[in-house]
Symmetry: C2
Subunit: 433 residues, 2 copies
């Protein structure tokens, strides 16, 4: 039979509300799963079984708080939690505790969520250097980063939902590598207060689930804008733009094949698929992302630099501005980004949704590097919503996700289309099976 | 003789470093000043004499940490401090403590600063409703807001430096009303981590001092970009743009007179003063500011809304989107702001500096409302550096400040010019006296 840790959030919340499932049973099922898998996957930076049991029993005692009552959520360890340490995978904050929750955790608790624990992040979620977490689909491969632990935990049924962050590609890339749904909302449509700050322009809360439906549930909890028009009932007639981006040259066979598979499947079901060729001004958007990230990172990590002797050299290089970014460079990068946002909004308004790669390919072997964010950073700088849709598989047998990109505040439309596209991918798997 | 609490930061730090002044003596002098004035001015939300004495004696025991060793700094009570409550002037956070400092406080402590206490803010720094603080120049008048306490404390010699925040006009307006220097840095050039979040696009740390020189000292501590060209040695030949803004109609006689005084004085000293008429597209920038602030505020205060029963209706109205802002409205406001930033950068590049009002006039009588932010919010949305220069006086005998506005990352140039303009205003006072 299906164990509680295998259920999706909507099912857990429904059964708990109906009294047919206790939060204590959800917690025990989750603890058993973590006990069985943690030595291999290593997703958790902090997992306190006694605290989890205590929180679960409290949730069983109180009236139903909201649509996530009893749903276990993994929280990336750069996101503040009042009752667990927030250590940022860096020596200075080992066992450091904030007296208050991050705004997103505060909102999730108000909806009845069971905060399961803190998950492994790369240092300050701001380096490509891998943490200890392994890809549940292939332990010798990276789960991606920087939201390594949350993506792996959700993919491995060690949490029902997960919170990550994205400044480059830290939410979408791990979702692709781990074969789950990942959602980077419209910038600032969910509060990022209480998340470690790296770049004000780029930092975004990221959300993980094993179904699009569960991401929609999170959209409800976070009061995301309603659909401007009714959600499409099917993919037939849907206008889909295929954006290979200026970084297409970096796409490996797995991603090239996944994109062609998706295009073929979309055409089969009657979607209007057309190529979206971005104007030349977008060619240098990756460079503007780098300049904005470094410029804001200089300010963001100054206090760590001034107060920490063992800070990693990556951060010292940023604060010392070793790459020699000038105020003129920064002004130009902000202008370029501002200009491209308006331009992209015009371009995107011709489509219902845009399809683009989530990563260069399957999760690379090894744990030192978490992969290449080239296909993600552009969308982060444009501040538009992105949903990773799993379901396709690469030549190595590992998941290959694809990104659906909407216009600002079109998050619910992107999630609705993601559900249809995900179902299409799964039917293909069924057919192939 | 001059008491330590009357000295500027540079002098205190120099004497402490030379061993001619102890931090303990600085603390005692400050405590005596607060004891004498707090019942009238009411600047402090938290002022712990024992803690202050303890921190001061610690600073006397350790080697000189940096350029602010022993300098008392007032911290707005929406900015996190690990050793004092951060209460946001709202019931939910009364006596609430964060385990970590805000990034800016962390950096100031590394420079040896003596964190003096927490100062009165309007609720969450996000309403125009006044706090308990009174204007030290006229107790029946507002000190401005939302950084009411920090501005009043610095103006009243109850702190040497102060930290505030600005989302609309919360740093510059109180500086104008209280007759001190106020600096809103280029957006994201100083970390805003650990400040209560209201609007990601707008929230900016603000800094207060009684001299431009002390603000330059803070620019050093926060590693603000070096000047791109040597600082002007005099105002002669300086290209000054006079920007009356689309809100000029709201200027009261005090501000109208102050602007003409400044123009006349600048011409006398040989500055090239020309009117800067913004193109029509800037006419609606106040409306775009409102839409961006409300849209981001909706997300920022959702967790408070979900967890607090006695939240003020102002915040409920924002979270419930009672003004009915649509996703289309938000997209249009972001595009408008993005477009105006680039346009303004072109316009501003024709001047060394832009002069504009800091407020509609003198500090209004009463404490219910903290004044009108119309002359500030545009610059906050444009994310450019602004320095309030004190020295002029209105018909009511109260201070009237004027703002100097630079391009992004021209903070040091704006501060250097502010020192010259401030000296010019003071010579005029001397002449008039």
């Amino acid at each position: 039979m299906t164990e509680p840790h295998q259920l999706d959030a909507a099912t857990i919340a429904t059964r708990v509300a109906a009294g047919t499932l206790s939060v204590a049973d959800v917690a025990e099922s989750l603890i058993a799963r973590v006990d069985a898998r943690d030595a291999d996957v290593r997703a958790w930076a902090w997992f306190d079984r006694d605290l989890l049991r205590d929180r679960a029993s409290l949730l069983d005692e109180v009236p139903i708080k909201g649509p996530l009552h009893g749903v276990p959520i993994a929280v990336k360890d750069v996101i503040a939690t009042y009752d667990m340490p927030t250590a940022h995978n860096t020596p200075r904050y080992r066992n450091s505790r904030t007296g208050v929750d991050a705004a997103c955790v505060d909102t999730l608790r108000a909806a009845g969520a069971l905060i399961a624990g803190k998950t492994v992040t790369t240092e300050f979620a701001a380096t490509l250097r891998g943490g200890s977490t392994r890809n549940p689909h292939a332990l010798t491969h990276t789960p991606g980063g920087s939201s390594s632990g949350s993506a792996a935990a959700v993919a491995d049924w060690q949490a029902t939902l997960g919170l990550g962050t994205q400044t480059g590609g830290s939410t979408i890339r791990p979702a692709s590598f781990c074969g789950i749904y990942g959602w980077k909302p419209t910038w600032s449509s969910i509060s990022r207060e209480g998340l470690k700050m790296s770049s004000t322009t780029l930092d975004t809360l990221g959300l993980y689930a094993r179904s699009a439906r569960d991401l929609m549930l999170l959209a409800d909890v976070f009061a995301i804008d309603a659909l401007e028009m009714p959600a499409p009932a099917s993919l037939a007639g849907l206008k889909v733009g295929i954006c290979r981006t200026p970084h297409w040259g970096k796409a490996l066979p797995a991603t090239v094949h996944a994109m062609s598979q998706a295009v073929a499947l979309l055409r089969q079901v009657g979607a209007e698929v057309t190529e979206l060729d971005l104007p030349g001004i977008f060619d240098t958007i990756g460079e503007s992302h780098r300049i904005v990230a470094r410029t804001e990172g200089r300010a963001a990590f100054l206090n760590e630099y001034r107060n920490t002797y063992d800070l990693h050299d990556d951060f010292k290089a940023t604060v010392e501005n070793r790459s020699g970014i000038t105020p003129g460079d920064a002004r130009a990068a902000y202008r370029h980004a501002d200009h491209c946002r308006g331009l992209y909004d015009d371009i995107a308004s011709a489509f219902d949704i845009v399809l683009t790669p989530s990563a260069t390919g399957e999760a690379p072997e090894g744990h030192d590097i978490t992969g290449d964010a080239s296909f993600n950073s552009m969308w982060t700088l444009l501040q538009v919503p992105v949903v990773n849709v799993p379901g396709l598989v690469g030549p190595g047998g590992l998941p290959v996700g694809l990104s659906l990109v909407g216009r600002r505040y079109e998050d619910r439309k992107a999630l609705a289309i993601a559900e249809l596209v995900g179902a299409m991918f799964n039917q293909r798997d069924a057919a192939a099976a």
